[in-house]
C-alpha cells in the first residue's frame, strides 16, 4: 500500500515538474538582456527590437522558466551563436587580456603621471648668478644720493 502511494506521488511529481514554472528563477531576462548581443544588429538585446533579438529573448525567457542559471543560458547561446553573442569577453584564457589591458593602461598612465608630478615638484628655480660687486657698489651709491 505504501509503495503504491509512493509510486503515485512520484508519478505526480514527474508529471507536474515540467509543467510547473520555476518557483525561484536563478536569473532574470532584464539582466541577461544587457549581457547578450543581438547578432544581426550588434547591440545588446535590451537595445534591440529586431526579429533575431526577439527570438533570443524568447529563448532566454523559456530557459529562465526552466530554472536555468545565467551561466547555463550563456553557454547554450555561445554554443549556438559563437563567442560573439556575449556583450563582454569571458574572464579566461586569451580573452582575459581584454579585461586586464585597459586596467594596466590606466595604472601605467597614473604611475607616469605621479612620477611626472613628483619630478616637477622637486625641480628648484635656477639660483642667482654671481654677485657683481662693482654694480652693487654703484647701486648703493645711487641710493645714497637719493636720500
Amino acid at each position: 500500500m505504501i509503495l503504491r502511494v509512493l509510486a503515485v506521488a512520484a508519478a505526480a511529481l514527474a508529471l507536474a515538474g515540467p509543467a510547473a514554472a520555476c518557483a525561484q528563477p536563478k536569473t532574470s531576462l532584464s539582466f541577461l538582456e544587457g549581457q547578450i548581443m543581438c547578432p544581426t544588429c550588434h547591440t545588446t538585446l535590451d537595445m534591440s527590437e529586431a526579429p533575431a533579438a526577439q527570438q533570443i529573448k524568447a529563448q532566454i525567457a523559456k530557459r529562465i522558466a526552466q530554472c536555468w542559471t545565467a551561466r547555463q543560458i550563456e553557454n547554450e547561446l555561445v554554443a549556438n551563436f559563437g563567442q560573439g553573442i556575449l556583450a563582454a569577453p569571458p574572464h579566461k584564457g586569451f580573452d582575459l587580456l581584454a579585461w586586464w589591458l585597459p586596467i594596466g593602461g590606466v595604472l601605467a598612465g597614473a604611475a607616469l603621471l605621479a612620477v611626472g608630478v613628483w619630478r616637477w615638484s622637486r625641480t628648484r628655480p635656477p639660483e642667482d648668478g654671481p654677485v657683481d660687486t662693482e654694480m652693487d657698489a654703484r647701486i648703493d651709491e645711487l641710493l645714497a644720493g637719493m636720500d
Binding site: 547578432p39 544581426t40 526579429p51 533575431a52 526577439q54 527570438q55 533570443i56 529563448q59 549556438n80 551563436f81 559563437g82 560573439g84
Partner: protein, 178 residues
C-alpha cells in the same frame, strides 16, 4: 639612469604605435569583400541542423548547387520555403543540390521551422554568421547559385524568391549549363 628611462619609454611608445598601425593595416587588408559572380563560391564546412555531421561545400564540387540563406525569425523566409522545396524536388533528378544555410538562428527554432515547412534538402547552421559575412549577406533570405566548377553564376537573389521566380529558375539553369 633618467636618460635610459626616457629612452626606454620612447621605445615602448614607438612599439605601441607601430603595433596599432600594423593592426590597422591588417584589418584593412583582411576585410571581407562580397564574392563576385564568376568567381569562386566561398567554401564552408558547417554543422548540419537536419541531421548529424558536417556539410562541406567543396564536397559538392561537380554538382550545381543552390545556396539559400534563411532564418526561422525571418518572415519572408516562411513564404519561400514551400517554393524552395518544390524546386528541389523538380531539379534534384538533374543533379542539382539545394543547401539551406540557417543564419544567426536558434537551432531548436530552426528545426521546428524545417519540420513545419516540410523542408527535406540539407540544411546547415551558421549561428555565428561567419559564412553569411563571407558571402556579403545583406539580410535573409538570399540565394546564390554555384556551378559544377564551384563558381558563382547567375545573379544572386536578394530577398524572397517568390517575387523573383524567373530569376531563380534562370540561376539554376545557369548553374546547370556551366
Amino acid at each position: 639612469m633618467t636618460r635610459s628611462l626616457k629612452l626606454g619609454g620612447q621605445i615602448v611608445a614607438l612599439v605601441a604605435v607601430a603595433g596599432l598601425l600594423a593592426l590597422l593595416v591588417w584589418r584593412l587588408t583582411h576585410q571581407s569583400h562580397p564574392p563576385k559572380i564568376g568567381g569562386p563560391a566561398p567554401n564552408f564546412s558547417l554543422k548540419r541542423i537536419d541531421g548529424s555531421g558536417k556539410l562541406d561545400l567543396a564536397s559538392l564540387r561537380g554538382k550545381p548547387v543552390v545556396i539559400n540563406f534563411w532564418a526561422s525569425w525571418c518572415v519572408p523566409c516562411k513564404g519561400e520555403a514551400k517554393l524552395l522545396e518544390q524546386a528541389w524536388n523538380q531539379y534534384r533528378s538533374q543533379g542539382v543540390v539545394f543547401v539551406g544555410v540557417d543564419y544567426h538562428d536558434v537551432a531548436s527554432d530552426a528545426r521546428t521551422f524545417l519540420s513545419h515547412h516540410g523542408v527535406t534538402y540539407p540544411t546547415v547552421q551558421d549561428g555565428s554568421g561567419m559564412v553569411g559575412d563571407r558571402y556579403g549577406l545583406t539580410g535573409v533570405p538570399e540565394t546564390y547559385f554555384v556551378d559544377r566548377g564551384g563558381r558563382l553564376v547567375g545573379s544572386h537573389i536578394i530577398g524572397t524568391i517568390t517575387n523573383q521566380v524567373s530569376a531563380f529558375h534562370d540561376g539554376i539553369k545557369a548553374a546547370l549549363d556551366q
